[in-house]
């Protein structure tokens, strides 16, 4: 284990992920500007222009083209990176399925932002939750440091021969993307020993020509290929655990795999949250603990693969749990709540309260968390919108 490192930089979340891409020695970057992602690729454009990083950079004419471009660059065996947000991510959707289906370990940063109409540039997770069926791994970050580190771990996880699937790493709009925090910038040498160069076994190779894309009948390999994606995604949890452990050993920063447990040892009630909502949640948990309440928090880091086993194990013996979603599945409930209920089915009878909070960037305050904990302690099980005005 390394000695604890000292902060050596102050940067926004967007700068931190740009440094993550630089340290990962990406060889190709393609993107299209969209608020609040733009400063990531602007920073990378500057690094490329200053030759601080040896990569090709192309600003294409749309996000759809950006994903098509990184798809192709990855297919020739070059570690590739892009970043987007909100409507840009939705516009990429078709190519997201292709990148995963082709088993290309691209890493992308997503700055979570609300969707129109009406136009809103503040944080919400519906944009990336809309992509949970694409076959990409998803990690939701809580700090600028984690956003940087997730790019490094992200490539290592995605490129593992046991995974070979793309990964998107999320940061909350403005709360992380544009807010400066102290960050530890790792050494390039250390990163190089942690993350070896990409060696894609099926890359385009003039000596070994192959046809890609191709075609499959209902009898052909289509269904088998899709099942293999599912198997790889489910099994990727082992790779995630291994890589996060190795990351901790190399860099001295320990992320806990798929979920993070906060004050859960003797907890009776817990709230499950992701992104920066978890930070406010942790503050409230500490406060309630001082008042003698046995509460805890589980932070969902990876949403894909979904940590169903981990969550089931962590909450089975509790008296109640609440799940906060900063997104909606209209006509049903929040996506995390749906997954948690499904994870607990047949394993635990504890009441699950589903909360939708903070849409369109609305603040989720300490008192909102206190109210949610009250609901959980009362054993409520329904779906609740938090802090909604009566009429608008």
């Amino acid at each position: 284990m390394q000695a604890v490192q000292k902060y050596n930089a102050i940067m926004t979340g967007n700068e931190a992920v740009a440094f993550g891409a630089k340290l990962a020695r990406v060889g190709f970057i393609s993107a299209y500007p969209i608020t609040p992602q733009t400063t990531i690729v602007e920073k990378l454009a500057e690094m490329v222009a200053n030759r601080e990083i040896s990569a090709h950079y192309v600003e294409v004419e749309s996000e759809h083209s950006a994903m098509a471009a990184v798809f192709a660059s990855e297919l020739v065996g070059v570690r590739s990176y892009t970043a987007t947000s909100s409507h840009g991510l939705l516009y990429m959707h078709e190519m997201l399925h292709w990148t995963a289906g082709q088993r290309l370990p691209v890493v992308m940063s997503v700055v979570n932002r609300a969707l129109g109409p009406p136009w809103n540039i503040w944080t919400e997770q519906t944009d990336s939750m809309n992509q949970k069926e694409t076959g990409w791994l998803q990690v939701y970050c809580e700090s600028n440091q984690e956003a940087l580190d997730s790019i490094l771990m992200g490539y290592k996880i995605a490129e593992s021969p046991d995974v070979l699937l793309p990964l998107m790493s999320m940061e909350d709009a403005f709360i992380l993307s544009h807010t400066s925090e102290p960050v530890i910038l790792p050494d390039q040498d250390q990163v190089d020993s942690f993350l070896p160069p990409l060696n894609l076994s099926f890359r385009v190779d003039l000596k070994n020509p192959m046809g890609y894309g191709s075609y499959s009948t209902p009898d052909g390999p289509y269904m088998e290929l899709r099942k293999d994606m599912m198997d790889s995604l489910r099994n990727s949890r082992k790779v995630i655990s291994k890589v996060t452990k190795e990351f901790g050993e190399t860099f001295g920063r320990n992320y806990s795999g798929l979920i993070e447990k906060f004050m859960m040892e003797d907890a009776e009630y817990a709230i499950i949250a992701s992104g920066t909502l978890a930070s406010t949640g942790k503050y409230v948990v500490s406060k309630l603990r001082q008042e003698g309440k046995k509460v805890g928090l589980i932070r969902v880091r990876f949403f894909r693969p979904f940590p169903d086993l981990e969550i089931a194990e962590a909450v089975t013996d509790l008296k109640g749990v609440g799940v906060i979603d900063r997104s909606t599945s209209y006509g049903s409930a929040g996506p995390t709540a749906l997954e948690v209920r499904s994870a607990l089915y047949g394993k635990s009878e504890i009441p699950v309260a589903a909360f939708i909070a903070g849409l369109g960037g609305r603040d989720v305050k300490v008192e909102d968390f206190e109210k949610m904990f009250q609901y959980v302690e009362q054993g409520k099980t329904g779906n609740f919108y938090i802090n909604v005005k009566e009429a608008c």
Partner: protein, 279 residues
């Protein structure tokens, strides 16, 4: 406070939404003014006018006009307007959006709307970069220009929009700058009378982004460049009408092209008539 009688264009403005969001010195407000004057000149009742835009600084313009307006998604304004015009041909549809929206992320649609000769009035405010996201280069950024995403100069060739739109089949093509307000107003008024797809490019100034990075200390400096380097030539060979700020070539402006050909509606109506008679 001085109490005035209000602004002559109050009836056309959603004045409760003012002040606008544009930067000091931005050219987009001038285009709004020219558009509203042209609308007043045209005599078209406000109730028949719809303004449509996509995303970006210019795309905020329709929100200040006191008419039906829709601020659509990134690049999709033309497709949106196409659906609206075909479904209700009586509407006068003006589409006012930026170069990034119309020619980059929405570049595909504008070609097809011109080809189909849909009766739309398109005004493209070209500020030579993506202003709203902080000044990155796009398809209209002159080669060599410095932007937030091309710190050592843009290595790509830029579009020559009037040439392109004429080739794509537009019925009316003109280009002015934010300095040429009278000519611009007349062209917009004329575009209301054109049957078919009309395209007006307005070269604009973006002081904090494109301007600052390319040698124009403020809006005035870039306007001064327009004053000194623009040449009006209505019969210009559009092939040579690309825009540069290098000072070695004039920027060509004018009412370049107007030729009527059947619109999508004309042909649609003709087919319907023909099929009816045949049966």
């Amino acid at each position: 406070m001085i109490q005035g009688k209000g602004h002559p264009k109050d009836a056309f403005l959603r004045s409760e939404r003012l002040p606008h969001i544009w930067c000091p010195g931005c050219g987009i407000g001038i285009v709004l003014n020219a558009y509203l004057n042209a609308l007043a000149l045209s005599g078209i009742p406000r109730e028949e006018v719809v303004l449509i835009s996509g995303i970006g600084c210019t795309a905020r313009l329709p929100g200040y006009a006191n008419a039906d307006s829709y601020h659509t998604t990134h690049g999709r304004s033309i497709a949106f307007a196409t659906g609206m015009k075909i479904a209700n041909p009586k509407l006068h549809i003006s589409l006012i959006s930026g170069d990034g929206d119309l020619f980059n992320i929405g570049g595909n649609h504008i070609m097809h709307a011109a080809r189909r000769n849909i009766d739309l009035n398109v005004i493209c405010v070209n500020n030579f970069n993506y202003g709203m996201t902080g000044g990155q280069h796009g398809s209209t950024t002159p080669a060599g220009s410095v932007t937030a995403s091309s710190p050592y100069g843009n290595l790509e060739q830029s579009f020559n929009l009037p040439y392109m739109m004429k080739a794509m089949g537009a019925s009316y093509v003109s280009r002015w700058t934010a300095l040429h307000v009278r000519q611009l107003t007349r062209s917009i008024a004329k575009s209301f009378t054109v049957r078919g797809f009309s395209f007006i490019e307005v070269l604009s100034v973006c002081p904090p982004n494109f301007g600052k990075d390319n040698g124009f200390a403020d809006a005035y400096a870039q306007m001064q460049y327009f004053r000194e380097h623009c040449e009006i030539d209505n019969n210009a060979d559009l092939h040579n009408a690309g825009v540069t700020f290098s000072g070695d070539r004039p920027i060509i402006l004018g009412d370049f092209y107007h030729k009527t050909r059947p619109t999508f509606h004309d042909i649609e109506r003709e087919i319907i008539e023909r099929v009816r008679v045949d049966r």
